[in-house]
C-alpha cells in the first residue's frame, strides 16, 4: 500500500451517526418536496385527478415508500430539534440520550403510520 488508508474509526460515535441520518434524510426530503407539491397540485386539475393519484398510492410499494418518508421526516424533525438545542440552549451533557430519543421518535411515528395506513 502506498497511499495512506482512510480513517473512519473517528466517526463511530452516536453524534456522528445522528449527523449522517440528518444529512441523508434531509437530502431525500428536499428532493421529495417538489414531487409532493406536484401530487397535491393534482387537485387543480380537479377531484378526479387527485383521486386517480391517491388510488395509485394504495399499492404496497407506494405505501412502503410513504412509510419510509414519514420515518425520514420524523427523524429529520427530531434530529433538527437536537441541533437547535445544541446551538441555542445551555449545553446538556445528556447527548446520547437525546440521540436515542430522536431515533425512538422516528421509529414510533413510522410504525404508527404503517399501522394506520395498513388498517385501511
Amino acid at each position: 500500500m502506498n497511499r495512506p488508508p482512510p480513517a473512519f474509526r473517528h466517526r463511530n460515535h452516536p453524534a456522528w451517526w445522528a449527523f449522517a441520518v440528518h444529512r441523508i434524510s434531509g437530502l431525500v426530503l428536499a428532493l421529495f418536496l417538489p414531487l409532493h407539491f406536484w401530487a397535491l397540485g393534482q387537485a387543480i386539475a380537479g377531484e378526479a385527478a387527485l383521486d386517480g393519484f391517491l388510488r395509485w398510492t394504495a399499492n404496497p410499494l407506494a405505501k412502503l415508500a410513504e412509510t419510509g418518508l414519514v420515518i425520514l421526516l420524523a427523524a429529520h424533525l427530531a434530529g433538527g430539534l437536537r441541533i437547535l438545542a445544541i446551538e441555542f440552549l445551555p449545553w446538556s451533557p445528556r447527548q446520547k440520550a437525546a440521540v436515542a430519543a430522536s431515533a425512538g421518535f422516528a421509529v414510533a411515528a413510522g410504525l404508527l403510520f404503517l399501522f394506520n395506513v395498513g388498517a385501511a
Binding site: 500500500m1 497511499r3 495512506p4 480513517a7 474509526r9 473517528h10 453524534a15 445544541i86 446551538e87
Partner: protein
C-alpha cells in the same frame, strides 16, 4: 496478554507504507512509549514528535487504530491485544513518518483572530473580572486547550473544506469573544463568520468526542454563530 505488541507504523510522507515492529509489552505502557522504543532500539530513522510526556504540550498526537489520540496519555492496555496501527494525524500534510506539518493548523488560529487585543492603555488599572460571571465561565470552559490538533484531525469539515478554520481555532476565538478586556471583537467576529468559519460547523461533535482535554469546541462554535449573527443583523463593523 501476548508478550509482544505488533506495532504497524507509517513510514514515509504522503506516499509510503506501513512497517511492522515487535515491541515488548510492559506495565503502564503508553503508545508514545511504544513509538519511542522503536526509535531508540529498533530503527533510529523513525521520525515523530513529543515533548512533555504528561499531556501538557500537545505535540504527541497521532492516529492510533484509526482515531486521533494524544499518545503520551493513551495506555496500550486500553486498546486491546490486536496489532497497534500508528499513523500521523489526519487533515495535515505529512512530513515524514509520524510527524505532520502543523503550520496550516496554527495559521488558522491567527486567521480566526486568536490573538488578544488589549482595549485599555498601558497605564490603566487592572481589569476586574468576576470569576463567577457568565462571560468568564464561557472563557474558562475553553482555555484549557493544549493545541494538539486532535479535534482538527477528527473534523470531517476540515477534510471537506481545507479552508475551514477548524474547532481549535474557533474555540480559541470564542474564549476571546468571552473576554471582557478584549478590544478586537468586531474584527474577530468578521474573521470567524462565513462558510469557512463557524457557520459551516454542523455540530456533529467529532471534536468534542475526541478532545483529550474534554473540551467542547462545538459549544464554543455555537456561541460564535450566535454572536456573529447578532453582529451581522446589527450591521456594524
Amino acid at each position: 496478554m501476548k508478550a509482544a505488541i505488533e506495532a504497524r507504523i507509517w513510514r514515509g510522507g504522503a506516499e509510503g507504507r506501513f512497517e511492522t515492529f515487535s515491541v515488548p509489552r510492559r506495565d503502564s505502557q503508553t503508545v508514545l512509549d511504544v513509538v519511542t522504543f522503536v526509535q531508540r532500539r529498533l530503527d533510529p530513522t523513525l521520525s515523530y514528535r513529543y515533548a512533555c510526556r504528561v499531556g501538557m504540550c500537545g505535540s504527541c498526537a497521532m492516529t492510533v487504530n484509526g482515531r486521533p489520540r494524544w499518545t503520551c496519555r493513551t495506555h496500550v492496555s486500553r486498546l486491546g491485544e490486536g496489532p497497534l496501527t500508528i499513523e500521523p494525524l489526519a487533515n495535515l500534510p505529512r512530513i515524514k513518518d509520524l510527524a505532520v506539518d502543523m503550520v496550516p493548523f496554527f495559521d488558522k488560529w491567527a486567521k480566526a483572530g486568536g490573538r488578544f487585543v488589549p482595549s485599555a492603555d498601558a497605564g490603566a488599572d487592572f481589569a476586574a473580572v468576576e470569576p463567577a460571571s457568565p462571560a468568564r465561565r464561557e472563557a474558562d470552559a475553553g482555555i484549557e486547550c493544549i493545541g494538539c490538533a486532535v479535534c482538527y484531525a477528527a473534523c470531517d469539515l476540515v477534510s471537506w473544506n481545507p479552508d475551514y478554520l477548524g474547532p481549535a481555532a474557533l474555540n480559541r476565538a470564542w474564549t476571546l469573544v468571552s473576554d471582557v478586556r478584549d478590544g478586537g471583537q468586531a474584527e474577530r467576529l468578521a474573521a470567524v463568520a462565513g462558510d469557512a468559519g463557524c457557520h459551516a460547523c454542523h455540530s456533529q461533535q467529532s471534536c468534542r468526542e475526541h478532545c483529550p482535554k474534554s473540551l467542547n469546541p462545538t459549544a464554543s462554535i455555537a456561541g460564535l454563530k450566535r454572536a456573529a449573527l447578532r453582529a451581522a443583523l446589527k450591521g456594524g463593523a
